[in-house]
């Protein structure tokens, strides 16, 4: 399926990636090329096939519901772009 510049704009917004207007057309072309190639999957008969969601057939292990690590804000904040008083500083969310 071919996708157009408007769809690219919408998807880029969903992905939170700023794409300049002049990139939308070339991207639409590129992504359409990839999606057209992907569409050969429609040749495969998958009626009644269960989707495979895990590479190995295994169930998730259970563990005790206890704290294993923590109480070390300095390590947690060590790579933050901006901190103050032991907190992350982020842009204002509510006006």
């Amino acid at each position: 399926m071919a996708i157009d510049a408007a769809t690219v704009r919408k998807v880029a917004r969903l992905a939170r990636i700023a794409e300049p207007e002049d990139r939308l057309e070339p991207l639409a072309k590129e992504l359409s090329g990839i999606l057209n190639w992907i569409e050969q999957l429609n040749e495969v008969d998958t009626d009644g096939v269960e989707p495979m969601t895990s590479a190995v057939a295994t169930s998730l292990p259970m563990r005790e519901d206890v704290v294993t690590e923590g109480g070390d804000p300095a390590r947690v904040l060590a790579n933050a772009p901006k901190t103050a008083g032991g907190f992350f500083v982020v842009p204002k969310v509510v006006e």
């Binding site: 998807v11 700023a18 989707p51 495979m52 590479a55 563990r63 204002k92």
Partner: protein, 490 residues
């Protein structure tokens, strides 16, 4: 002491054990080799001081009689592994300067066994690529060149730095990761051995995530035995990764050299693709002959859904990547580019921090997961994934392992496939099936093409049967007697 860098890992460990040289000497020789090879761009961070400190500590352990299985062996670490206090960037601008305050389980296992870290190895950004050209640090250059040519070739990707460093004898072995072929294709392009173990064999904890249901760590080395030694240390159950398998790690090195007599090896007919060079087809036939001579029974098998593996992968991997990479929002770590609002900050940060290929895959992944397309693309791909996995199950009812080429070509020139994403994706046509099915796969060098470039063969095994791959790999290695090395030009 250039000759120390030419040793296999096994020979180096033997030399350390017999006190022929110290880890400090061995490590110093490798530090000098790394410094002299900057033209290859294999390392994104060199850590010579830490290496020497680790080497001296290793020598002290050995003197006390407490040496571990890898004690004193200098290794390179792919930049996808988080290493405490040492920049770990996944070769992305968005993680520029990120210094983890923790250590990945796989690297922690290597240090537990005494290994020495030489530095961090270049790669495709977030492991997305087959040529190393998507790295924010620029591509790695393959130490191999075509005869009579000076053009720079790709070492493959995404573990191009690992492959080049091992091939150029800058380290005794390296860690790597493989989501669609990122260990095996670079191994084939550089004349090295690489194994992607069964999904869940190595912990993914502390490895920057790309596509969580496909990512697996594995070693790259210069011999099958060296790869077995490294994998034994890297693998093991880890409660911190819920998909890590609670199984014992076999003594992998003991499988190398074992007789392969009576093993049934399948040759999948669908792995003959249009446009594959005759040399690769011929090498594959040679591999069959070598295994026959070693006593294996060769069986033609069919994996009918093979051609749908790549398109399914290019839905599943980008879908998982778009979700995994949502964490790079400029708030808690990494790059932040301030904007007019919170959304604007997110969008600018991610636009500036991610490279072209990473953005392309995030957009594809976001699209196939978006309302109205989820069933048509993502769910369809998961169903095709099961069909591919069932193909392997059926084949493994008849055979113990499969033999295929690793890649459809030898190393290509940097820039050659840069304008056509689909042409680039086709590099993984023989490797990607293994990730979808969670199986172990190994690439090993088996010969040279007419231009003098290495070519690889791939062995694929049953889940958790890496041991058989090490035995078969050992048999092919012995028969192929691959001794070629890249001519030093760097």
């Amino acid at each position: 002491m250039a000759e120390l860098t030419s040793l296999t890992l096994k020979a180096a460990l033997d030399g350390l054990n017999s006190k022929a040289f110290s880890s400090a000497e061995l490590t110093q020789a490798h530090i000098e080799a790394v410094e002299a090879a900057r033209a290859l761009n294999a390392f994104v961070a060199e850590t010579p001081e830490r290496a020497l400190e680790m080497a001296r500590a290793s020598d002290a352990r050995r003197a006390r009689g407490e040496a571990g299985p890898l004690d004193g062996a200098p290794l390179g670490i792919k930049d996808l592994f988080c290493t405490e206090g040492v920049a770990s960037t996944a070769a992305s601008k968005i993680l520029d300067g990120f210094k983890p305050t923790y250590e990945s389980t796989v690297t922690a296992n290597l240090w537990r066994d005494g290994a020495v870290m030489l530095g961090k190895l270049n790669m495709d950004e977030f492991a997305m690529g087959s040529s190393n050209e998507s790295s924010a640090y620029g591509p790695v250059v393959n130490p191999w060149r075509r005869q009579g040519s000076n053009s720079h070739l790709t070492p493959g990707g995404s573990s191009g730095g690992s492959a080049a460093a091992v091939a150029a004898e800058l380290c005794l072995g390296a860690t790597a990761t493989d989501t669609g072929g990122s260990i095996r294709q670079p191994a084939a392009f550089t004349g090295t051995v690489g194994i992607k173990p069964t999904y869940g064999r190595c912990s993914r904890w502390g490895i920057v995530a790309f596509a969580s249901s496909l990512d697996q760590a594995g070693p790259m080395a210069r011999t099958v035995e060296d790869a077995a030694i490294l994998l034994k240390s890297m693998a093991g159950h880890d409660p911190k990764d819920s998909t890590s398998l609670a199984v014992e790690t076999p003594d992998f090195p003991s499988f190398v050299g074992k007789s392969v007599k009576g093993l049934r090896v399948g040759v999948p007919k669908e792995y003959r693709v249009d446009g594959m060079p005759a040399e690769i087809e011929a090498l594959w036939r040679k591999g069959v002959e070598w295994l026959k001579d070693a006593g294996c029974e060769i069986v033609e098998v069919s994996l009918p859904n093979t051609r749908y593996a790549l398109p399914a992968y290019y839905i599943i991997a980008p879908a998982e990547a778009s979700s995994n990479l949502a964490r790079y929002d400029g708030m808690r770590y990494g790059l932040r580019v301030d904007g007019r609002s919170l959304t604007d900050t997110y969008e600018k940060t991610r636009a500036e921090g991610f490279g072209t290929e990473v953005k392309r895959r995030i957009l594809i992944g976001t699209y196939v997961l978006s309302a109205g397309y989820y069933d048509a693309y993502y769910l369809k791909a998961l169903k095709v994934r099961r069909r591919i996995s069932e193909d392997f199950e059926a084949a493994f009812g008849k055979v113990d392992a499969l033999l295929t080429p690793t890649a459809p070509s030898a190393a290509f020139t940097l820039g050659e496939n840069a304008d056509d994403p689909v042409a680039m994706y086709l590099n993984d046509i023989f490797t990607v099936t293994v990730n979808l099915a969670g199986l172990p796969g190994m690439s090993l060098p088996a010969g040279l093409d007419a231009a003098g470039l290495p070519l690889g063969l791939q062995l694929i095994g049953r889940p958790l049967d890496e041991g058989t791959l090490f035995s078969l790999g050992g048999a092919i290695e012995k028969a192929a007697d691959f001794r070629a090395k890249p001519q030093k030009w760097w």
